[in-house]
Each structure stands twice: as structure tokens, then as C-alpha cells.
Symmetry: D2
Subunit: 337 residues, 4 copies
Amino acid sequence: MVGVGIIGYGYWGPNLVRNFFETKGASVRQVCDLRAGRLEHAAMRFPGVRTTTNVDELMDDSTVDAVAIATPVSTHFDFAMRALAAGKHVLIEKPLAGTAEQARRIIEEAARRGLVLMVDHTFVYTGAVRRIREIVASGDLGDIYYYDSVRVNLGLFQHDISVIWDLAVHDLSILDYVIPAKPRAVSATGMSHVARQPENIAYLTLFFSDAMIAHIHVNWLAPVKVRRTLIGGSRKMIVYDDIEPSEKVRIYDSGISVDDQSAEGVYKMLVSYRTGDMWSPKLDLTEALQLEAAHFIACIEGGERPITDGTAGLRVVQIMEAATRSMGEQGRPVDLA
Amino acid sequence: MVGVGIIGYGYWGPNLVRNFFETKGASVRQVCDLRAGRLEHAAMRFPGVRTTTNVDELMDDSTVDAVAIATPVSTHFDFAMRALAAGKHVLIEKPLAGTAEQARRIIEEAARRGLVLMVDHTFVYTGAVRRIREIVASGDLGDIYYYDSVRVNLGLFQHDISVIWDLAVHDLSILDYVIPAKPRAVSATGMSHVARQPENIAYLTLFFSDAMIAHIHVNWLAPVKVRRTLIGGSRKMIVYDDIEPSEKVRIYDSGISVDDQSAEGVYKMLVSYRTGDMWSPKLDLTEALQLEAAHFIACIEGGERPITDGTAGLRVVQIMEAATRSMGEQGRPVDLA
Amino acid sequence: MVGVGIIGYGYWGPNLVRNFFETKGASVRQVCDLRAGRLEHAAMRFPGVRTTTNVDELMDDSTVDAVAIATPVSTHFDFAMRALAAGKHVLIEKPLAGTAEQARRIIEEAARRGLVLMVDHTFVYTGAVRRIREIVASGDLGDIYYYDSVRVNLGLFQHDISVIWDLAVHDLSILDYVIPAKPRAVSATGMSHVARQPENIAYLTLFFSDAMIAHIHVNWLAPVKVRRTLIGGSRKMIVYDDIEPSEKVRIYDSGISVDDQSAEGVYKMLVSYRTGDMWSPKLDLTEALQLEAAHFIACIEGGERPITDGTAGLRVVQIMEAATRSMGEQGRPVDLA
Amino acid sequence: MVGVGIIGYGYWGPNLVRNFFETKGASVRQVCDLRAGRLEHAAMRFPGVRTTTNVDELMDDSTVDAVAIATPVSTHFDFAMRALAAGKHVLIEKPLAGTAEQARRIIEEAARRGLVLMVDHTFVYTGAVRRIREIVASGDLGDIYYYDSVRVNLGLFQHDISVIWDLAVHDLSILDYVIPAKPRAVSATGMSHVARQPENIAYLTLFFSDAMIAHIHVNWLAPVKVRRTLIGGSRKMIVYDDIEPSEKVRIYDSGISVDDQSAEGVYKMLVSYRTGDMWSPKLDLTEALQLEAAHFIACIEGGERPITDGTAGLRVVQIMEAATRSMGEQGRPVDLA
């Protein structure tokens, strides 16, 4: 039985608590939050669970084997390092850390101590994204041409981070999981519409070593909710619409065919497009966080490496760091080392 | 009665011919195309109309007072200059010309000769776009924060121009008509997926003197057709979805409210969002090209200045020229003089 | 403080328990179900709550002032009569009872004892339906011409009742709340596709004293989920689409205008249609069952009459009883006394 | 070459003229309409075509081998009989005739004279409906359980016929083509909302010899346009949505499985539902009327029997006649002999 402590009982914390309660092999030991009101709420929903406003109590609790951190990004590094120092496995809400440097130090510390470090890239554990990865991996799409994602809605403004670190982090973690190629450079643009606040709208273009291109559009200030990803291949294309109640993933047997012709001394290239059937596979509807919690426990018990390990978290943070720099210079491209 | 000659009977030409046939005060005199097959088609649909493969015949025809040019972009300059030299008013399919320099010379020539020069920015004449302009002009949206447009589908690849000059030109012409502010700089990214062909996917960000930002996404290789524009304001927001059979324009009474607070010595800013009713106005469903043809004739007869005059066409070409340069440098921002 | 006992912890019971937990003035005292497994589940989710498989324990519990019944329809009458006999107020899941006769006896018993009797017509308490009632009541629609509702999906087959008693009951309760006029006759058709099972697809037409007509289509065996109601008036029309994540209620300024003409001795009537703006009001998003639970407690404490009282429940049962008879005779109309 | 004359140049006539112009083997000889204004319009769009307000001219024209009739329903019988008497093949716009008796006489007359009689059930020639027929015929759906169709919009009121004869005729012709079984009885309900006018809203239920059931909902007074047909089978189900710009036909691998159990002396039947992949086949996008015109000419030239022959037209008229009777008696079922 793995004893679990949760730090942070805000928006996401209750989901972590509930899912660890329902995970075999896990036992929720403590919930920690600075706000007494939040802890009262936790006590109402999960009577009997121990709550505390003092994180030391959780760190010192020898029945807590693993810590799940769901606090503001700026605090991830400190809590993670303290938990690792206390010999506890760590699950951190996305993004792994506020800087790539911090992410690297967390990864090293976990490796040095032989502890499991997992990043809560939740979407990676959805039935839709797992299916998309399978389809891409099968090669059915042909060459991957582009990955285009839109994630906009009227949402809560964050005060400490821009919309990239709040929303694009989802798309970057999906991209990282689904597409084997890794980006070489990023050009980003964005804008803040509230004085002294980080950007609430942003556009990222990622360049790769070949002709693939990726683009992510995130916006906290859109009148409608859009969650749509297009993945274009030379042979087939995917539309992943997370708003759809069913048929979230659709595969189109569409593409282009290129026909080199050299007739009558005149060179001419014909590019024609081709449309065919559409197909929408049945998806596993298990709650992503439930699979994720079980995977975290399995990694602890079996010494497995998490699918969304520290290095996946680092790659995403690196891109966001570079994108933030590019955004400050109106889209000047920034290399990803 | 204004005698009209049409040069180019490919995809768009037949629409011009049909609409000038139905326009009071206009009389279609000649249709010119290099391809005899296309002219046969014209003769079948519009029996009695004179057709020719020799553009000189049209230029020399003294009953032709005005020329509508619907040929590949690279030929716009030559045909326009010849028509103006022959004393004819000119309507040119978008984009006005292949370079800003050419566009400027066409404008000067028309001005020098006192002839009407109009650019066929068709969307400007739709009921939807005219209504959006009214709403923006009314000030109801508050401060304009962003203009975001997506125009993607599986479409015909052009061989001489990139997707920017084929599709983004629509969005840029709508933006130019609807939003009074003009952009200062552009950052664009894109990619070609067919060897030796121009870019088939592109992303443009436009910067303005204030916090407004505009973004345009165009793609010839998308499995689904999307034609959606979001215009975000501080008080209200517009969604313009041109795919919808009805209710193409929706106004959301949504926005953010910012509340500066300075309590207990701690400065804190609260940004909260607000949602309200949605409203979709009835739109004029008249075919855009019909209004446009009538407007062209009215400008000729009354000496009016066209809504989509040469300078509007030039502004759009300038942005595309700068975007093309930026796209060649992975998004490095390019100033618009 | 009103002590509440819940009988039945299947699909709907947990929602009742949760909402009474969150209702001020209510205190959940006991949860009763015949299945020990379900009670274990209840104890896990609501630690500390008393559970029992013996309904007598609940009936005899003097701290239980009110009973919420969420059991199969065939048991509603017995449980309701026992609870009333024990002096307890009663909330019954829809439909009120399996026959109109039983419904009448429950109403009489509650009246005789001065106890609150409320039927759980949940949709009546949604923001959407309450808004629709307001709009209809305002007279803005003009004369009401029709009410047309579709409620289909691939759902659980019930073994004791037809799809009318499972799904149409929702539409009938909404209709009863929203439209002042009451139906005079019903014609219903339907079919069972599993041997020895009640109908899984059904169509009901309701006739009124004037030209209004209502129709309800319910189906357990549809490949897609549809929840759409059209309300047509002479001046305006409503579309209520419960699947939409937002803008569930839309009001169309559309209708017909009739123009009697008698020209040149020839009588002619011109009916033309008219389309205008569409408008979608912001809706209260409070969970319906939360409002409903609070309303039940308020009725008990203040002696108020519930919005969805026994007579509303009876009217709905009467229609379903008549519709069932008509369905057995391939649509022969059956009068509603 | 088959000489074709068209009677009636209202809403549908121009489509017939245009398509026969484009049909190989056909030559449009005359267009007849009582309204001179309509004929002027025809002359403008199809210069050179002979027009007349006198139907005798068309009947007497020996170069006219075949007549297409697109006039009000009440005139179909007379025009068809005159054309057959003049030895001309006949294509009649749906419905074939205003009564089953008239339909029978037209069929007999055509048979007696060995002339082709075809009914313009246009939807039968669409790529969508042809594909649906193939899927149904393949047996992939398993047992057909139901056919459910909705065809509503804000449309032109007809003065001489109810909405059944204007809109349901489409659904009945599709049903007739797609489903091999033929209905045994019909129950219909409906209402008129304009004094002295036929019904503008109607609901039809069709009964078959087995458990299959069909339902059609038509309405001229709906605020939104809906064109959706569900076909439910024991193994798979079809959704045909004619409003969708693409993917009009979707096949769902969904259904129910019935499991008879008899355990512990208790008989129990378990009905569970099953969902799987969805698949949308590519459709032939050829204009239906083009295929239909070519089929008409081919039948004349090759002596083929039309897919939508007189007996198909008669079956549809018989159902509408019975439905009209049932509608007058509030849904009392009427047998189809």
C-alpha cells in the first residue's frame, strides 16, 4: 500500500484526492493547503482524511510514501525538492516547474535518490490521445505534415503565468507524447490586454528538422470554447475535437497526390487532393486521472518509468521558456538547444 | 450604359460575367480567355456574348468602358496597365497585384487618368462582413483586443503563389474593412509540403500601435473546412462562422472586468470574466458579387470612390509582401512602413 | 432542520443524497436500499451516514421528517403510502406512480394528513426550462402553435416500463410546466424490438382545445443522443437544445404573416414567412436538483405548495396511461377526461 | 436524340431545363408556362429555347418525344394523360398525382401505350440515398428496427396541399427505395395554423408486417432547418443528415444484445447496448437531377424500366392518401390495402 499526501487543495487537488481514494494500492494519508477554508471543504467531502496547513507535517509523516503537488507553478520546485529530500516519490501538476533549470534539478534529485518522478500531463492518459498516438505510430498517416491546435475559452486569468504556461502546456504535452519528432526552434507571438499582467493570448509555431510544422493557439478571452487539434499527414489526417460529446477523434482518408509531369518540353507539377471515407474509432472512456493515478502507483511499486516522466516535463518547459522569450520579441525565432 | 469586358474565364470569371449580366446599367460586351475551351463554355452559358482569345480585341473595343480582370496574379499588373492606358475603368480580382510596387503604379495610373480602380475584395460586400463593420464601428465591443481568423480546407494547390496570397488575402481584406486601426508589423510562419512549391500552410500575426493583435491561419491541406473569425473586445465579442448556414454572425455579451484592489498594504488585481446573452442579427443575403458589380457601375457613373479602392488593395498587398519575407525567416517580425 | 431519509440508492439516489447533504436546513439521516453492495458504496462516498436494507428502520426513525423515494416505479405507491402513514413528507422520483389511480390516492393521503407531496420533475428546476416558461408566459411568442420534442439515445433498457414512462415523462413534465393549456386527447404509436419487453421507441401526439399540437419522440435505441425541443409561436419560436454546452435556449424572431386578399373578385390568402434576429439568453447554471431539494425543504418549513406537486405528477401519469392505451391500438386517439 | 418539352417553369422547372440541356442524348425543345413573366425569365437564362403559354403547342410538337411536368399537383393527371395520349414519354415531378386513383390510371395509360413513365423522386438519385440503399441491402444493419425522419424548416406554405404532400413525399420516396418491406397501415396526426389552409405540421407512423416501424415528421413552420433520418438495425445504425456539408451518412457500429438468462428458477432477460466505431463513407457528389435526367433518357432509348417508375409513385401516393385520412381522425390507424 502506497501512502499518498496531496499538497494543494484548490481547483485540481480535489480530483487528485478523489482519484487516489479510488486507486487500488493507494491510501490517502494527508491533504495540505494553506487555506483553512479549503481544508474544511476537503474534510466535508472526504471525512476522516487528515488535513493540515503545515506542509512539514506532511513531509515528516512516515506513512506518506508519495506526494502529489497541485500548487501554483512558482512553488513546484520547492515542494518537489523537499518531498524528494524526505524520500518521497513525487507527482507534480503540469508544468513540472517554472524554469528549465529548476526542472533539471528536480529530475537529477529524483534520479540520484532513485525515486519516481512523474508529471501530471493529464491529457496523455485520455482514451482520445492514447488512440491518436497509436494511429500516428502505425504510420497510417504517412509523413506528418503539421500539428495544429486551438485551445481557447473565456477562462480564469492567472496572475503569475501567461496563457502559454496555463493552456499551451496541455498541447505541448500531447504533442510530445503523440509525435516522435522533437522541435528545433519556436516562434511565438502574444499580447496582454490587462495592464501589468502576463499575456492572455498567444500563438506558437514550432519548427522541426524536416518539413513538419506545429502551431498552438491559446486564449483566455474567447467567447466560445474550442478544443480542436488537426494532424495532417500525406496519406490521412486526424481531427481531434475534445468538445464533441462523442466521436472526439476522426480520421479522414484525405490527402494530396503529387504528379511530376514533363510533357512537350514543359515541366509541370500537378498537386491534386483526394478525399475518401472518414472513420471515428471507439475510445476508452476511463477517466484519465484514474489511469494516471494507477500508473503512478504501479511505477512506485514496480520500479517502472512513468510515461510522463521528468524528461517529458522538461521538454515541455524548455519549449515554453523559449516561446516566452520569442513572444517578448514579436515572434523572432528562438532555437531549442 | 457601361460596356464591360471580362478577361479570364476560369474559376471566378463566370461569376463576374453572370453578375454583370444581371446588373442594371451594365452591358457585357466581350469575354476573353487564352483557352478556346473556356470560351466555348462561356458561349454555351451566355449565348450571344462575344468571345476572343486575343486581349487586344477587347482593349481596342470602344464599346468596352470597363474591364474586369480575373486572371492569375502575375498577370494583373500588365492587364491593368493596358486597360487603363486604353482609357478603361478597372476591376481587379484580389489581390490587386503581385507586389506593392506594381500596386502603387496601377493606383497612380488610374488616378492620373481619372479612371475608377476597384479591387474585388468580395467578402467586404457580404451581409455578414458589412454587419460586423457596423457593430465594430458602433463601439459596442469596447476596446478591440484581438482579431483571429481561421480559413482552412482541402483545396486546390496554387503553383505560382503561396496560401497567403490565395486565402489570407480574404482575411486581410476583411480585417482592413472592419477594423479602423492598421498594422505596424507582421510575424509569419509557414511551410511547404511539396518540393519546389510555395507554402501551403501559413500563420500570420499582425501587431498594431496599441494592444490589439491579429492572427490569421490559412491551410490548403486541412481535412475539414473551417471559416471562423473571432473578434474580441473588452465589452463584447463576435464570432463569425461562414460555414454556418444561418446565424453566421453571433455577438456575445461577454468580457472581462478588471478590479484594482489595494487592501492591507497588498496590491492585488482581480480579473474576472463575465458572460451574458448571445445575439445573432438577421443578415442581408444578397449575393456579394451582385452588390459589388452594382457598386462598380455606380462608381463609374457617379464618380464615387469604391469602398475597396486601390489603396485598400495596396494595404493588403503590403502586408502579404512583408508576411512572405517574415515567413522566409521563421517568424522574424517585419515592419510595415 | 429537516431530517431526510432516502429510499433507493441506484442511479438517481446518490444525486439525491449528495444534494440534500448540500442543502441548508436539511440533514441526511438514513439511506435505504435492498442491495448491501449499494449501501457499501453509499458509506464510502458519504462516511458517517446511516444505511439500512430494512425500510422499516427508516420509516420508524423519528428523526426522519421527510422521505425521498428513488426506487422502481412499481414500488412508488407502497413506499409513498407507508411514508405518509408514518407522518413523513414525501418527494417521489418521476413518475409519481405507475397508474393514475395510485397517483390520486397518494395525493389524497398527503392532503388528508397535511403533508408535503412533491414529484421530482427535475427538468422543471433547470435554468433553461425556467427561462422558457418565463418567455412563454410573457406572451412574446404570440399564439402557441406547437411543442415538439425529441429525446433519443442509446440507453439502458428498462424491463418493467416502456420508454414512455422512462423518457417521455421528462418531456411531459416540461410541457406541463411551460404551457398553460392542458391536452384533451392523445394518439401514440410505438414498438418493442425485444421479445416480451415493453416498447423501446414511441411517438406521442397531444391534442388541445385549440389548434395547438404537441409531439414527443422517445427512443432507447438511437445511435446518437438528441435532446431537442421546438416551440413554435405565431410571432416567435424557441429551440431548446439540451445537448449544447452553451446557448441551450434560442429564441428566433421568425414566424408567418397571413394576408387576406380579395382582389379582382378572386379570394386569395397569402401566407408568407418572416425571419429575423436570433437571441440566446444567459441561463442560471445552478444544478437543478439543488434548487429542487431547497424548494422541498422550503415547502416543508413554510407550508408552501411545491411547483411540481402531486397534481402535476398526476397530470403527467394520466397522459402516459392514455398514451400507453393508444399505443396498444396503433395510434387510435384516446381522450383525456 | 430525345426531344424534351418542359411544362411548368416555377421553382423546379428551371432545374429540369438546365439539366436536360446538360444531358447527352437530350435536346430541350420547348418550355411551357401560363405566366408570360416566367417565360421571359426562361428566355433570358436559356436564349434560343422556344417558349409558349399554350400547352397545345408543346403537345402537338412532333419533335418533342418526352415531356417533363413540373406543375401544381392538381394538374399532374391532366397533363400526364394528354402527353401520353400524344405519344410522349413522361417524367412527373413528385408526387405522381393527387390521388391513388389518378396515379393508377396514368400508370395504365403509359403501360398500354408502351411509353416510359417516371416519377421525379429526386432524393433517390443522390449519392447519399444510393449509398444508404447499398448498406441496407448488404444486410450489415441486421434486422431493421425503425426508420425515423425529420424534415422541417421555415418554408413556403402551399395552398392546395398539406405539408405531407409537399415534404413527407420526399421521405416516403426515400423509404420506398431504401427499405424492401412495404407498410401495412398508417397513423397520422397534424394541424393547420392558418384558417382554411391545409395542415402545415404533420407526423406519420407507418406499421409493417414485422416489428419495424417508420415515422416521419414534417413542418413548414420550424425556426431551424432539420433534415435528419435515423435507421436503426439490430447490429448497426445509420444517421443521414442532409444539412451536413460533408459526412452526410454515418454508420454506427452500435446496437443491443439480448441475453436470455434463467438462473435460480428466475427468468430474466438482459438487454444491454453496445457502442463501437463510427464510419462515414465517401459519397458520389454528382447532382441528383443530372443522374435522373440521364436515367430518363436511357430508359427511353433502351426500354429500361425507371428506378422510380409509376408504381413507386403510386405506393407513395397511397400512403399519403391514407395518412391524410388518418390525420383527419386524430391518428386513427388506416390500413394500406
